[in-house]
Amino acid sequence: MDRIFNIIIAGVGGQGILTASEILAKVAMEVGLDAKKSEVHGMSQRGGSVVSHVRFGKKVYSPLVEKGACDIILSFEKSEALRWVHYLKEEGGKVVINDLEIIPTTVSLKLDTYPTNIEDQIRDKAKAEVILVPATDLARQAGDARTANTVLLGVISNFLPFEDKVWEKVISDNVKKETIEVNLKAFYLGKNYYKK
């Protein structure tokens, strides 16, 4: 593989962004690629906006994705996708969004408003393919609502050059033993959701 893949995973602290980006980077390492991942979070991990950059390819230098170079934005929360669209490549980027709204205290206190028409805004401005995924519902179908992050990894696996068995191995190695089965189910529910 000659090219470098740049992926941004965004969401709200406490949503499992760390685990998902770890699995993604390890999948790349498993097939012998150079991989780097970097999390950006501030003071409190919970409730605040959190983002993780994952890059892989033959040789990777910066652990941060450059503005204008991101291939895929994977957002675990609806409005968080908006925050990073200017990192996308000018054309051909993809934005995979979990159909879940988490209302911050700033909105309840009327210091801010929750954005509307999120999908349309991204399609218009970023000219990116937007894929809205009912990840929490699919995760419930798999057996545990907390596996929404694995569902979303399943969706983006359709755009990445890794075989299913590599994903299976890395997911199995990185989740609690008793949840391996549910996570694998969640992964394939995500994978097949996009194929449909």
Partner: protein, 581 residues
């Protein structure tokens, strides 16, 4: 070839310490340095401790190195300020077995109060400085640092930054080298820094610095990467990766040991290239070294900003004046960090806000009390200043003003540097009131134990310090304990102490809501619900002003998220209409 793993820079340092045969490791937690000691503590061959503060950590590790064991200490950049006193003198004494000090700087201030570039400490204290650029280098260079330390009889400053500490990159693992204890021989002239000895040692330090400078041009930590001779880039640390990303074809002088500056190697490099640009984060540390040599045409901060963290786009925009083409930014919602649902600090700050108190703050999760909805912290400077700043307010504005004045500080922080401040208030006849927010752990950095928790860094049970008894021993006669989840009870005590003409300490005691034992208790409690028929919604907003992340407004009424609620019942206490059950 060794096994490969994806490790953060901090995990890689811990691995490097183990491979280097380190025996003693000390630290005080502080982002981004915390995970170094957490990971070192997992190796049975290494003694690891959370020290009460960075100065203590430094002195314990230095003592171990003088006594013959390879030792290390790690801290965040501002932590080195606390340890600056022994740092400077350790340069004079030198070491016996290897001694490496890790400073984790925080460009961009992701969770810090300033953006100091601790490379300056190396020059100030006349110590060699090592700067890796990824996790693999962090591990390998850390081992090399011990060799340099022993070769030149010097402490070594090892500088990381947030991006290195918290990025994960591929690392090839090695084996541990068992380094035997070195002999300890009493040496009064070296280790007892009386003025007469120190005067002699200063000459030793200057001589050492000269030798280190020659070494800097020979060590393989520094290298020239030959490329296009039209552009030469001098860089170190993470900046190397950003520069390489943007200018893959250029000729590089890549510095892993950046102080003392490798003059000979630089001259060789300068002869190879037409134009030289220094790409470095924050201070013009390397640029100044080059300009001192008389290379006035060298450029650096002309293109690269002094403030904030670097990134590939900042380097590209700075030097080339353009970014990669990208979509226009879109506006999302502001999502500042907040107290967790069930956080014990909520009850205190809700009350302080209601009382319109003046509050001097300290470093910890509770610094968030400065943000909406409470906005009830007036100052935050550094660890310990929650107490001392409050006394300063009293001195400036008098005893009447200070009746509504509170200094707040955490439990770990109180033990770190709070105690001397409290003694100062008592000794100097102040009446300042202090609240110790005792959540039974060092919460903000991710739940590290401290002398008050009864557990060591290795998870072993130990004697726990009794904060109440310490407070009394400092001379405070009025000590109160409150449960911050009891809003009325807490407010009554706050009001009571406001009337006192003597200093008082309120210990607000309740464990962090994210501790595993607390989570078990939460699971057994009912989730709270709003009765929409009783809720006055937008007309009231009483529960919203609690600042609990589980509560929001939905269709004009309050709504409690089942996913986030931990059943602490604070909202029941603030609802004037009994709409929550």
């Amino acid at each position: 070839m060794g096994k490969k793993e994806l490790l953060s820079g901090n995990e890689a340092i811990a691995r490097g310490a183990w491979e280097a045969g380190v025996r003693v490791a000390t630290a005080y937690p502080g982002t981004p340095s915390t995970e170094i000691l957490e990971n070192v503590a997992k190796y049975k061959e290494i003694y690891a401790e959370w020290s009460t503060n960075e100065k203590v950590a430094f002195e314990v590790a230095l003592g171990a190195a003088i006594a013959g064991a390879r030792s290390m200490t790690s801290m965040k950049h501002v932590g080195l300020n606390v340890a600056a006193d022994p740092l400077f003198t350790s340069s004079y004494t030198g070491i016996n077995a290897g001694f490496v000090i890790v400073t984790c700087d925080d460009p961009g201030m992701h969770s810090s109060q300033n953006e100091q570039d601790n490379r300056r400490y190396a020059k100030f204290a006349k110590l060699p400085l090592i700067e890796p650029s990824d996790s693999h280098e962090a591990k390998d260079f850390f081992k090399e640092a011990f060799k340099i330390s022993e070769m030149f009889d010097t402490p070594v400053l090892f500088r990381m930054t947030t991006r290195l500490s918290h990025s994960k990159t591929v690392v090839e693992l090695g084996e541990r080298e068992e380094v035997p204890l070195k002999n300890y021989v009493k040496d009064f002239r070296k280790y007892v820094i009386l003025p007469s000895n120190a005067r002699v040692r200063h000459y030793v330090v200057e001589e050492r610095l000269k030798k280190l400078q020659e070494f800097a041009s020979q060590t393989n930590l520094n290298r020239i990467e030959e490329g296009d001779p039209s552009l030469g880039i001098v860089t170190s640390g993470i900046s190397y990766q950003y520069a390489k990303e943007v200018f893959p074809e250029a000729t590089f002088l890549k510095l892993g040991m950046s102080y003392p500056f490798p003059v000979d190697l630089f001259k060789k490099f300068a002869n190879m290239v037409k134009r030289i640009i220094v790409i470095e984060e924050n201070e013009p540390f390397l640029e100044e070294e080059i300009k001192i040599l008389g290379y006035t045409g060298v450029e650096g901060k002309k293109y690269i900003p002094l403030c904030d963290e670097l990134s590939p786009e900042v380097v590209r925009k700075g030097v080339l004046g353009a970014e990669l083409p990208h979509p226009e930014p879109l506006k999302s919602v502001a999502r500042p960090p907040v107290f967790c649902a069930g956080c014990p600090h909520t009850g205190i700050f809700y009350n302080l806000w209601r009382l319109k108190a003046t509050v001097t703050g300290d470093i910890g999760c509770y610094t968030l009390g400065a943000l909406p909805p409470y906005e009830s912290i007036d100052t935050t400077i550094c660890m310990g200043a929650g107490i001392t700043n409050a006394f300063g307010f009293e001195l400036a504005r008098g005893k009447d003003f200070s009746k509504k004045l509170f200094g707040v500080i955490g439990d770990s922080t109180f033990l770190h540097t709070g105690i001397p401040g409290l003694i100062d208030i008592v000794y100097n006849k102040g009446i300042t009131k202090i609240i110790i927010l005792d959540n039974r752990i060092t919460a903000m950095t991710g739940h590290q134990d401290h002398p008050g928790t009864g557990k060591t860094a290795k998870g072993e049970p130990t004697k726990a310090v009794d904060i109440k008894e310490i407070v009394k021993a400092c001379g405070i006669d009025k000590v109160y304990e409150v449960d911050p989840h009891n809003l009325r009870g807490t407010r009554d005590v706050l009001k009571e102490v406001m009337e006192l003409d003597e200093p008082a300490v309120i210990i607000s005691k309740r464990p962090c809501a994210l501790l595993p034992e607390e989570r078990k208790k939460q699971a057994a409690r009912p989730k709270r619900k709003v009765n929409p028929d009783v809720c006055r919604g937008e007309k009231c907003m009483g529960c919203i002003k609690l600042g609990c992340p589980a509560i929001s407004m939905k269709d004009g009424k309050a709504y409690i998220s089942e996913l986030l609620c931990v059943g602490c019942d604070l909202c029941i206490q603030v609802c004037p209409f009994g709409a929550i059950s």
